[in-house]
Amino acid sequence: MTVISNLSAIVSEIVLPNTKIAIGGAAMFLKPMEAVREIIRQQIKDLEIITLIGDLDIDLLCGVKAISVLESSFIGLPMIGMAHNFRKSIEEGSGLVFKEWSELSMVRAFQAGAMGLPVTTVRSLLGSDLVKVRPDFEEVVIQNKKYIQVPALNPDLAIIHAYAADSNGNVYYPKQHILDDFSLLPAFCSKQLFVCVEKMISNQEGREIVEQGHIPMFSYLDVDYIAKTPKGAWPTGFPPEYAGDMGHFMTYSGMSRSPETFQLYLQQEIYKEDTN
């Protein structure tokens, strides 16, 4: 039942206008960047994008005006600065609807979605003006204590990046792996799961790397689509396979300041002939 195919075919099949997509990874780590680039190459628009912490993924999609609704707790280039296209989209009133969360409330909304809860509660949002601008956030009193009730998240599709998939469709993560939650949270609350992997291996190889300590994270029953995208998280990092490419982020930060240089970036990095 798991479809193992190439990136382009999968994206054109499942990423349609108005699809509500949760993107895994966070803060320049583990973003399924090659899938984002393919979405841009296929010029898919009107997407609803959900991501806990957005960086280059979201800024690129904002730059090509692919997003109609965006849900996140932070969109920026950590350690570098603003995400210019995101910022401009909002400041210029482009029509992009931004549903802002706090990080913890969004984590709880992902968790609630995975558990089939319609809503969940969080206390750390008390006193935040987010409660005023989000009509779907509501102050409630339970057992004489105040909470903010927030809606669960159940996106149509999660796109995440992982280490390897075997021929049955089981997905493996590296051992001692950091930051898994940022991919697991969207994966478990979404209606479908698309995993981009560094490499395809046999079922036998899968069990061998588990014996070495790799983590069998998703079974074939969890995973709907798999595409091989070597180094597909680049320029975000996928430790311990590769580190984030800070130089590239700095280059991007510069080139995304003006429409002309942003177009140049798209030409050089995304529309260029596919070398896979």
Binding site: S73, E100, R123, L179
Partner: protein, 267 residues
């Protein structure tokens, strides 16, 4: 007299707020906070339980923390040397649960006001803002779940020190509000360190107060770079400048790569 720059005063002053034996969290995206925690651990707070990026706990002191996150060999070496780890289920599991409240967090807001409210969302109208900041990520959550919060603002000016924030991304210090909401355990922001001075909220009405002025600046400069009138104590203490030892540890061990300058633009 020790030779130092303003950024060093900021880093050292922040480090001095850290108490030995406490537990704390800071994100990976604010290098100056990470450096100041390393400095504290290398000087007076060796037993700080420091969650680095929600992963390592008390990473090895000989490891440069910035390098861990950008160099894979350093990353692989760092794990075995940490006192603890938090690998499978992230820090999220603690938040608001019964087992742990961290003693403090460090944050760097885009704006702060005289009541200790912070704004990382927008300047102007929320729906059609003049400036759209990146968003708070966890800053609001940290303010309402850590016992207290340290703030640093690398460049204090009228845009960062505002009378009232346009948007409350993280709630201010108001003890009344915190009592009413059952959040009295979490005091909000207790100390702010900028490139000009150190501030707290130790007034009767819990309004921002100058605690000390750095020797590199004047109280006039401090007031000019705030959009509201600051409480100023009399006599006015001068911030203790970095000591020779602090500067030596900072330069040679805590931050040889000068990562702290990543989020600092000199005036």
């Amino acid at each position: 007299m020790t030779d130092y720059e303003v950024i060093d005063q900021l880093t050292v002053s922040l480090a001095r707020e850290v108490k030995n034996g406490e537990s704390c969290y800071t994100g990976i995206a604010i290098p100056l906070a990470v450096v100041s925690i390393q400095l504290a651990r290398m000087t007076h707070a060796p037993d700080l339980d420091f969650y680095y990026g929600g992963y390592w706990i008390q990473p090895d002191l000989d490891v440069d923390l910035f390098t861990i996150m950008t160099d894979l060999d350093a990353f692989k070496e760092a794990f075995p040397k940490a006192k603890g780890f938090n690998p499978l289920i992230q820090l999220y599991r603690y938040w608001e649960g019964p087992k742990h409240t961290l003693d403090f967090g460090i944050i760097r807001p885009a704006q702060i006001d005289q009541w200790g409210n912070i704004n990382n969302s927008v300047v102007g109208n929320y729906d059609q803002p003049k400036v759209r900041f990146p968003g708070g990520a966890a800053v609001g959550d940290i303010i309402n779940t850590c016992h207290h919060v340290l703030v640093y603002i690398p460049r204090q000016d009228k845009r960062t020190f505002v009378e009232n924030v346009d948007f409350i991304t993280g709630k201010g210090v108001s003890p009344e509000w915190r009592r009413e909401n059952g959040l009295e355990k979490y005091k909000g922001i207790t100390v702010i360190v900028t490139d000009l001075a150190i501030f707290d909220f130790q007034t009767k009405d819990s309004r921002m107060r100058v605690r000390s002025v750095h020797e590199s600046s004047t109280i006039e400069e401090v007031q000019e770079n705030a959009s509201f009138s600051l409480e100023i104590p009399d006599p006015l203490p001068i911030t203790k400048p970095p000591t020779e030892l602090e500067m030596k540890v900072l330069r040679e061990k805590a931050d040889p790569l000068e990562v702290r300058k990543f989020d600092y633009r000199p005036r």
